[in-house]
């Protein structure tokens, strides 16, 4: 039964969350060095270091520290960054919206573009569609950051044309909406590219398979026009599996932005994770991992839910889905 399946899924959420955070906690803390060794002013006095270690509870056993961290987490206390003493929640509060905007837009763009492309390609076998298929295959085979570097070379440096900004998300803190959108064009396009290429393939295969099914032939014989046939009958059927793929792709788009964020100098979650690991800033690393775990588990659960909502067969009693 569907309800039981969803309940089981719900039951797995907490253990999964604990596993993700515990593994991250252990791996991050097993890394050699700690924040105090890496910061400049602490090399002088060993006693001061020991004192600070005790204060940060770095001298306690790993499991004990994980327990303390969990205890604080349930009170929504993620602690403060070791490097600049700012609350982790503030840092995440700054970085998260940037990443959500970039990867959210990228995912939307990828879904829209891949549905359009996939549907188009499913029905045509001419030169144009062949060329499009080939370029989609090419797009899935090149690193997205390479595309980003090339785009920057062409569109954002003096040697090419300087149509787009090289770095950042805005020219100034009080920049207008247009300026901000302008800064988003290249990062979003680069981030969407590999996902579009992958999704379009699924949509194309799905639509092509759906168009060959009996109910389509029957509908066509009743005199339904091709357009309606495609949009109302074939496409919805083809999109059910795509929902699952999009849902499970979301965390990757979210985190895949780390490379894109680095290329375009966007201070988002990816760069935050990258920099905090470099300085062994454990509270920030763990804060990011909480967000990553939430995104992962949330999209897994919503994907299950969406599959049930989208596919009426899954709601039938006794169905296994």
């Amino acid at each position: 039964m569907t309800r039981r399946l969803l309940l089981t899924r719900l039951g797995w959420l907490l253990p999964s969350f604990l596993v993700i955070t515990a593994v991250t906690f252990a791996v991050a803390h097993l890394a050699p060095g700690d924040p105090l060794q890496l910061s400049e002013d602490s090399v002088t006095n060993q006693a001061v270091i020991e004192d600070a270690r005790r204060q940060l509870e770095l001298d306690r056993p790993l499991l004990h520290r994980y327990g303390i961290w969990l205890g604080r987490l349930v009170r929504f206390d993620l602690g403060a960054s070791v490097t600049d003493r700012r609350p982790v929640l503030d840092k995440i509060g700054e970085a998260l919206p940037r990443t959500v905007v970039v990867s959210g837009l990228a995912l939307l763009l990828a879904v829209a573009a891949s549905i359009a492309l996939g549907t188009f390609l499913a029905r045509r076998t001419d030169r144009l569609s062949g060329a499009l298929s080939a370029s989609l295959a090419l797009a899935s085979g090149v690193p997205s950051f390479w595309v980003a570097v090339l785009l920057l070379l062409v569109f954002a440096t003096p040697r090419g044309v300087e149509w787009f900004p090289l770095q950042g998300l805005a020219s100034s803190p009080e920049a207008g909406l247009f300026d901000r959108l302008w800064h988003l064009v290249l990062p979003v396009a680069c981030l969407a590219l590999p996902t579009t290429a992958m999704l379009a393939r699924y949509v194309r295969e799905g639509v092509a398979a759906a168009l060959e099914q009996d109910f389509i032939v029957a509908a066509r014989s009743r005199g339904l026009d091709e357009r309606r046939l495609l949009l109302r009958h074939a496409l919805p059927n083809a999109l059910v599996p795509v929902i699952t793929i999009v849902g499970l792709q979301l965390p990757h788009v979210f985190a895949g932005s780390v490379v894109i964020e680095r290329v375009f100098g966007i201070q988002g979650m990816g760069l935050l994770a990258y920099e905090s690991i470099g300085t062994r800033d454990y509270p920030v690393v763990m804060g990011v991992s909480v967000v990553m775990a939430a995104v992962t588990l949330g999209s897994m659960f919503l994907t299950d839910l969406a599959a049930v909502v989208a596919d009426p067969r899954a709601r039938l009693p006794g169905s296994d889905r």
Binding site: V27, A137, V142, F145, L150, L248, A255, V263, G270, A293
Partner: protein
């Protein structure tokens, strides 16, 4: 036709990777200096040639058989004998076929030597993840019950959890990047796909007559898994491993691009792209970005074509 081209591309890169030194090295293939003949000095590294380059040997040696490209991957402007008034990076020309980077290193030499690093990592990653995935997948499908539930759930988590984030944390924990660390780190993220395929195949096979017969004859579970299930289920795993070569190359390049892959100055394709990104500040050096990217794309696309062809063969075989 397409398949032949893809196989040729892969074979070509393998040859380049294996023969990187005879193709591009600072030392010649053979040289006679001060009455002794040195054969393949780039592999034997004789003390007499320490610090020498083909450019410095050109005047001193009696005779010399040079390499195709007379520059090593680490050879900088100071020793390449290029005498120009402007500062590097230099655009591609007759001397440096693919140009040089900001300290005058030959891009072609770095690309060829980088192919060895990148392909070594890719093959190591595919091998490790296939072994891990085969084992866990077979275990889940064969044991069923709680083992299956836990492995399946771990598989789902591992394939959905953002790889990049996990990689960043793991690389930090492994005392910085090294060749083995990179292979280990990437290998541990690729196993879910193999495991999923293996599990499905084992579930399909476990109740077939030959397995039941083996069981009835008293074969142990481990024996059945090893001798009957895994060999019969390995087809899809091999196909996915072929595709995995491409994605491993992509992942290596992303990791190196973040500065978490191969340690500079050693070259890999991702490291070359990182260089290219850094030199965006001295714009116009398109050759730094274009050629390594093309190399990556060629391997990824070729492995996809070969994978698709293998998949076709497998489907045809299971039908017939």
């Amino acid at each position: 036709m397409k398949l032949k081209l893809a196989l040729a591309v892969l074979a070509g890169w393998l040859v380049l990777a294996l023969l990187a030194e005879p193709i591009a090295s600072e030392l010649p293939i053979a040289v006679r200096l001060d009455g002794t003949t040195h054969l393949l000095p780039f592999w034997t590294r004789p003390a007499a040639l320490h610090g020498q380059t083909q450019q410095s040997l050109a005047n001193r040696a009696e005779w010399m058989i040079g390499t195709l490209v007379p520059y090593g991957p680490l050879q900088t402007l100071a020793t390449t004998g290029v005498d120009r008034s402007d500062a590097p990076p230099y655009a591609p020309d007759g001397r440096h076929w693919l140009g040089t980077d900001e300290i005058g290193r030959d891009v072609f030499a770095r690309l060829v030597h980088g192919s060895r690093m990148t392909l070594l990592i890719a093959l190591g990653v595919v091998l490790l993840s296939s072994l891990l995935g085969t084992f866990l997948g077979a275990l889940a499908g064969w044991q069923g019950g709680l083992v299956d539930a836990v492995i399946s759930r771990a598989l789902e988590l591992a394939s959905t959890f953002p790889t990049v984030f996990f990689l960043i944390v793991l690389v930090a924990a492994l005392r910085g990047p090294s060749l083995l660390a990179v292979i280990f780190v990437l290998g541990t993220t690729r196993w879910p796909e193999t495991a999923r395929l293996m599990r499905a195949e084992v579930l399909r096979l476990r109740d077939r007559d030959f397995v039941v017969a083996a069981r009835a004859m008293g074969a142990s579970r481990w024996w059945i898994m090893r001798r009957h299930l895994v060999p019969n289920a390995i087809g899809p795993v091999l196909v996915s491993s072929t595709f995995a070569v491409g994605s491993a190359v992509l992942m290596e390049s992303a990791l190196s691009f973040l500065g978490l892959g191969v340690v500079p100055p050693a070259a890999s394709w991702g490291e070359l792209l990182q260089q290219a990104h850094r030199s965006l500040v001295t714009p116009g050096a398109w050759w730094l970005a274009v050629f390594p990217g093309l190399a990556i794309a060629s391997v990824v696309l070729a492995s996809q074509v070969v994978g698709a062809a293998l998949e076709g063969i497998r489907r045809g075989a299971s039908k017939g």
